[in-house]
Amino acid sequence: MIAEGALHAGCQFFAGYPITPASGVYKAMIEQLPQRNGVAISAPDEISALAYCVGASGRGIKAMTASSGPGWSLMIETVQYALMTELPVVIALVQRLGPSTGGATQNGQADILFTEFCTSGGYTIPMFAPSTPQECYEVTTIAFKWAELLRTPVIILSDKEVGMMSEDVDFIKLVSAPVSYRKEFSTKNGTEHHTYDFQNLEDVPLFSPVGGDYKVTMTGSAHDKKGTLQKNSRETIDVLLHLQAKIDAHAEEMSIIRIDNEEQANTLVVSFGITARTAREAIRRARLAGKKVRNANVISLFPVPGTALQAAAAGVKRIVVAEENLTGQYRSVIRSLFPDQEIVGVNAVGTLITPKNIMDALL
């Protein structure tokens, strides 16, 4: 369904290297993209795969790749390049058990920090986590929207359970984000073309492709608005601030949390990906047993939807963060949002969290 979402969003270029559990996306794109007049390339490795995508994006094409932890490790140099050069690209990561080659067919939700904080410099990469095939489709269209509008790499963080399970999908009920394209530069607005031009820090530079009418200067090194290599000029620092400011300015708009409310709740359960489904089941069973509990399924993991999470936690005594990793990665990210509330984790490694595990943590 990630592939379906990408096709709907106007993705015309895919390059990938197969890896369980992300091979389904690879296979679907190799089969379907050429039929829809797009290009799908089997790259010889993950470094090439993402570099091909970023090159194609520079030519003005919407591009995507798909991988999992071991392949993602190899892509990190290039995703930083995409971030620095403000080239949109969507990366679908289907998590498996780590570290290293880990377990190909075992689930994991343990690449959250590894993925989000992969940049030298610590810039925010928007990241969305689906929990159902329908959400895979929806989230992919959302990922393309923000990649294009903000000229930035965007991550879809799925997991093996969501990615490799076969399931019924009602196509009539699919939801998608509006199809968006990066805004292109034209001389009509009377300005000269600079590759990284902006007025306010949060503005997104108007795009012109390599091979277009205006000279483009792409560089992964610190640069001014023209793309000229610079060290510590005011303008260069501004460009760096701008990379983060353009994301921060849209944090609220990117925020997606699905709340199942219960006014009188004592506990809020926070989860994402496959665990969000388990949490919904746990909450169904807990309510049948008379417990007052609220649920928050976080879809936009980054930028951290702080306002929405704090609103979701209003009035509860305990926040339970359920995630399939050892140390409670997302819990560590959101902990500081709740200075006056108890925050506990339900965690598992190499095995699914069960509804009972979550129910045991409720007040």
Binding site: P34, N37, V39, G55, R59, T78, Y81, S166
Partner: protein, 442 residues
């Protein structure tokens, strides 16, 4: 004259070279500029893709062509992406030129190999000065034997890459070696850029900072000792973009249609969770898939998850099914309603992964009768699965027979799916189920 650029269309006015005095890169830049000038290309149709190293900063000297300054050694991969997009999805207007050093080419050798194999319309101009200049002059995999560098003070003892031979073995259609001071280098580069498909020019250079002081090394020795005659690519062939447009793009291959219309009904209330365990190659996962589709055709929700060892064709094969009249939230099986064990591999796996220990008194266990005894809380039926149905029909026949008894999903839907899949061979399944029915305890 050597230190600043002459006025040309493609470079910045009065640009000051960032290179050390006497560095071969001066010639390189001038010849590249000269080549573009000779070709008289619209600079908007040129993209120079460079990476890290002294030669990598050459992009800052060019005023009018597009430039892509990339990560160390990866320039050829980015250029490949640009060319694939340009050549297939745009109007193939760009001349994509990779500027790379011997260091970058060592790091990203795979990208050169793959670009040559694909025959993408990219021109690589490799500045080979036999070492990594920018990072302190360490030797590279292009350093000749006995070459002295800060990292080979006793002289290099490892022979160098012969990039021309490598490119030839990768099917590059244009390969040339030259020395930076060669008068005709500009026209060689122009030829390479004009060449349809992948082209590689190796330019031998002197690094005056690191190579010259420690080695008896000048233009003359380079000319005499290091120049070889491995020029010349393989015969011309179609480039990747042309072939892709001819053979792949718009190629309407029939893809499998997994659409299911819920034409049947089921009275199932709640969910049922089934584990199928058997041996790889004995259609365990296919049985599960057909059952899932039939459940959806019965108007139910259904999920299916498979597991097998890393090599997919041997050992156990496992599949977990859940069918429900409500949305399926938890996708694991904390308490199975039925477990079908079709072989010894399957039994070993359900014992190992804890499936059998999660069974309760109501769990229906269907196991082949030849399997050894095992402990389980469920109701165990031992059937002559393999004897009656053979291994490859055992899982599906057992599942279908179970469904006849329990009626969880529409049996008509399941028959339609089985008949549709196995066509004239589906009679065996009908016979299997007749034969199995008397054995099932519920």
């Amino acid at each position: 004259m050597e230190e600043t650029l002459q006025h040309h269309t493609y470079t910045k006015d009065n640009a000051v070279f960032p290179f050390c005095k006497g560095c071969g890169h001066h010639h390189y830049v001038n010849h590249l500029d000269e080549a573009l000038f000779a070709l008289n290309i619209d600079p908007k149709n040129v993209c120079i893709v460079s990476d890290i190293g002294c030669i990598g900063i050459l992009d800052s000297l060019f005023a009018t062509p597009h430039t892509f300054h990339t990560t160390h050694g990866r320039s050829t991969a980015f250029a490949t992406g640009i060319e694939l997009a340009d050549g297939i999805l745009r109007n193939s207007k760009l001349k994509t030129i990779v500027v790379i050093g011997d260091g970058g080419a060592t790091i990203g050798l795979l990208h050169l190999v793959n670009a040559a194999l694909m025959n993408v319309d990219v021109t690589v101009i490799l500045a080979n000065n036999f070492l990594y200049g920018m990072t302190g002059g360490q030797h590279s995999q292009f350093s000749p034997l006995e070459f002295v560098t800060p990292t080979t003070p006793a002289g290099n003892i490892v022979p160098p890459i012969d990039i021309c031979s490598i490119m030839k073995s990768c099917g590059a259609t244009y390969i040339k070696q030259a020395v930076a001071t060669d008068k005709n280098l500009g026209s060689i580069i122009a030829d390479a850029v004009n060449h349809p498909g992948f082209a590689m020019v190796e330019v031998l250079e002197l690094c005056t900072e690191w190579a010259v002081p420690f080695n008896k090394f000048d233009g003359k020795t380079m000319n005499e000792k290091l120049r070889h005659s491995n020029d010349g690519g393989v015969p011309q062939r179609k480039d990747f973009a042309t072939l892709y447009k001819e053979k792949v793009l718009g190629n309407l291959k029939k893809t499998i249609d997994d659409t299911v219309t819920p034409a049947y009904t089921s009275a199932l209330n709640g969910s049922r969770r089934i584990v199928l365990a058997g041996t790889a190659g004995e259609k365990v996962q296919l049985a599960s898939f057909l059952y899932m589709k039939s459940a959806i055709a019965s108007g139910l929700h259904a999920t299916q998850k498979n597991d097998n060892p890393v090599t997919q064709g041997s050992g156990f094969s496992l599949s977990e099914l859940c069918v429900s009249n409500d949305e399926i939230l938890f996708t694991g099986i904390d308490q199975p309603d039925a477990v079908i064990i079709a072989s010894a591999d399957g039994l070993k796996e359900v014992l190992a992964n804890g499936t059998l220990s999660r069974c309760v008194a109501e769990t229906i266990i269907i196991a082949d009768q030849t399997l050894p005894e095992f402990e389980c809380a469920g109701k165990i039926s031992r059937l002559p699965l393999r004897a009656l149905c053979t291994g490859s029909r055992a899982a599906l026949s057992a599942l279908a027979a179970l469904n006849v008894v329990k009626g969880w999903i529409s049996q008509d839907a399941l028959w339609e799916m089985i008949d549709g899949k196995f066509k004239d061979k589906s009679g065996s399944f009908h016979r299997d189920i007749e034969a199995l029915m008397p054995f099932i305890k519920t």
